[in-house]
């Protein structure tokens, strides 16, 4: 991860002005490739970095890339929410956890299970290859769109069709906040 990546990761927000309409297709394609690279680089840092703080930084980069992908998938709203929630909340929460609970970053780990690394690689590789194969082989049938999926429609759907889910998710969030407060507060008398 370097400075240019961070700057680049900011770019698509305005380069793809009205969705993808106004901009030359090539430019959009180039930016898309850059974004894919950023996502993957971020992911690699996130799952492979020795230092956990760097892993979180990589995760943030990855999320920015994913937000760009969402932009390309015609949903800027979800892209912005992705940045707002993942970078602004989840990554910061994890970084907090690291600061509060992992003082010795460079602690030498004892000998891992000798096969853990290769096994992980094999498991992950198999899953990935399987899914990629599926994705390449299957012929997905596109259905005609019934609407444009605007922000307004999302809101309407959330409060009508999915109101039950919406409420449940709210309750889950509430319980999560209260629960985490209870767990984390436990044992601190001040």
């Amino acid at each position: 991860m370097n400075i240019m990546d961070t700057i680049n990761s900011m770019l698509p927000g305005f380069l793809t002005a009205d969705g993808l309409a106004g901009i030359a297709d090539e430019a959009a394609g180039v930016v898309f490739l850059i974004m894919c690279a950023i996502t993957l680089i971020g992911g690699v840092i996130a799952c492979n970095s020795e230092r956990l703080v760097r892993a979180v930084a990589g995760l943030a980069v990855c999320f920015v890339g994913v937000a760009a992908l969402y932009y390309y998938l015609n949903s800027p709203f979800v892209a912005m929410m992705q940045i707002l929630i993942y970078v602004g909340a989840v990554c910061i929460t994890i970084a907090f956890a690291i600061m509060l609970a992992a003082p010795e970053e460079n602690k030498k780990h004892g000998p891992a299970g000798p096969l853990s690394g290769p096994l992980g690689l094999i498991a992950a590789g198999l899953a990935t290859i399987g899914m990629i194969g599926l994705a390449l082989k299957t012929d997905f049938i596109a259905m005609p769109k019934v609407n444009m999926g605007s922000v307004k429609l999302i809101g309407v759907e959330l409060l009508t069709t999915y109101s039950m889910v919406f409420e449940l998710v709210s309750i889950v969030l509430l319980i999560a906040i209260i629960g985490s407060l209870v767990i984390a507060r436990h044992g601190r008398s001040k």
Partner: protein, 372 residues
């Protein structure tokens, strides 16, 4: 996992506040054992600008030590030289003309106001507000200009002499001092509205940094620190010296024991000092400023002498053991801030670092005076 938390060694970390730190106002180091934002244990490390004033006092003649005394506390230098001249005069039996005594009292009180003003500004700056410092300095400059016109220097005056003064005050000074009093009263009102009433300021000081009367007695804290803890002790009233019995003034005492109480004591003290200056200017007698006969060489008779004065920071004591020669045999300075600072270690345990540093500000530290 319930119950009180047991802080283990590996959960805490050490934070060095100082020797170079904006909150310590000098080269003071406080080694803090921190648990997050909370202080588990604090250890004050002194001596970074120790200059052996006491030993100098034993090696130099009495007049030669005089300039050293103003280097103890560069903000309230008059009070410290006052202590020295009073001690030597008592030891050597030198009479002081009345006019000199009055001028001394006026000078010390002016200097006290200047010192408190600077403390006020620095304290608010410790809390993050920068502007009151500038206003305070503006008023302080007025005092310093007056003092400079009389004594010739702005900070380390060396103005008192054994038996009197270095030179006399003139009408300009008296007029300026008279003009200063209403001006300062107006400024005090401004500070009250700008700072004392401010909700953020009050929230930061109310019930923060408790220093109880017992703790003050245990560590020998004096001055505004003790008076903020409800101890009604002021050397000017309790062990009167110079012409202080002639003046009518109150000793502000607050019983809240928190940082705000110490703040209020100092703000009220400025008002009381203004009263003293007012009365001193009214009563200022004509006459000489040096005694007619003054010993050429000061050799106090054999003995042990102690003189305490109330400086801006508390009770400053000076002990001179004389063996009859022109040098002191033992020269001991009891500096108030040293005692006031020594209770910091105990008082700040369990506090948050912000509050602890606010409390440190409320102690009114002048580091050279601690280290001597």
């Amino acid at each position: 996992m319930s119950g009180p938390i047991h802080i283990r060694k590996d959960e805490t970390f050490t934070l060095n506040v100082g020797p170079q730190h904006p909150a310590t106002h000098g080269v003071l180091r406080v080694k803090m054992e921190m648990d997050g934002e909370y202080i588990v244990k604090a250890e004050t490390v002194l001596g970074y600008i120790h200059r052996m004033h006491e030993l100098m006092g034993e090696n130099r003649t009495y007049p030669q030590v005089l300039p050293n005394l103003s280097r103890l506390d560069y903000l309230g230098a008059m009070g410290y030289t006052h202590g020295h001249v009073l001690a030597v005069e008592r030891a050597a039996g030198i009479e002081v003309p009345e006019r000199a005594e009055y001028v001394r009292a006026i000078m010390v009180e002016l200097n006290r106001v200047a010192s408190h003003l600077f403390w006020f500004g620095a304290f608010v700056m410790d809390l993050g507000g920068f502007t009151p410092l500038m206003y305070a300095i503006e008023d302080r400059e007025y005092i310093l200009d007056m003092l400079e016109a009389v004594t010739g220097s702005r900070l380390t005056y060396c103005y008192f002499r054994f038996g009197g003064l270095y030179n006399d005050v003139d009408d300009d000074f008296v007029n300026a001092a008279r003009a200063f009093i209403p001006r300062m009263r107006k400024s005090l009102k401004k500070y009250d509205a700008l700072v004392t009433g401010n909700i953020i300021f009050r929230k930061r000081l109310e019930n923060i940094g408790p220093i109880s009367a017992e703790m003050c007695r245990k560590y020998g804290a004096t001055g505004p620190v003790a008076r903020g803890a409800g101890i009604d002790f002021d050397v000017r009233k309790n062990e009167p010296y110079s012409v202080y019995p002639e003046f009518d003034f109150d000793v502000p005492v607050y019983h809240e024991c928190d940082s705000l109480a110490r703040y209020k004591v100092r703000m009220d003290e400025m008002e009381q000092s203004l009263r003293i200056i007012e009365q001193g200017l009214d009563k200022l007698p004509e006459g000489p400023i040096m005694p007619k006969k003054k010993p050429k060489l000061i050799k106090p008779p054999k003995g042990d002498y102690y003189q305490a004065v109330e400086t801006a920071r508390g009770s400053f004591g000076i002990r001179i053991v004389s063996d009859g020669t022109k040098n002191a045999y033992r020269f001991k300075l009891r500096s108030p801030t040293y005692s006031n600072m020594s209770l910091f270690d105990e008082a700040c345990e369990g506090m948050m670092i912000m509050d602890a540093l606010a409390m440190m500000g409320s102690l009114d530290l002048v580091i050279p005076e601690i280290d001597r």
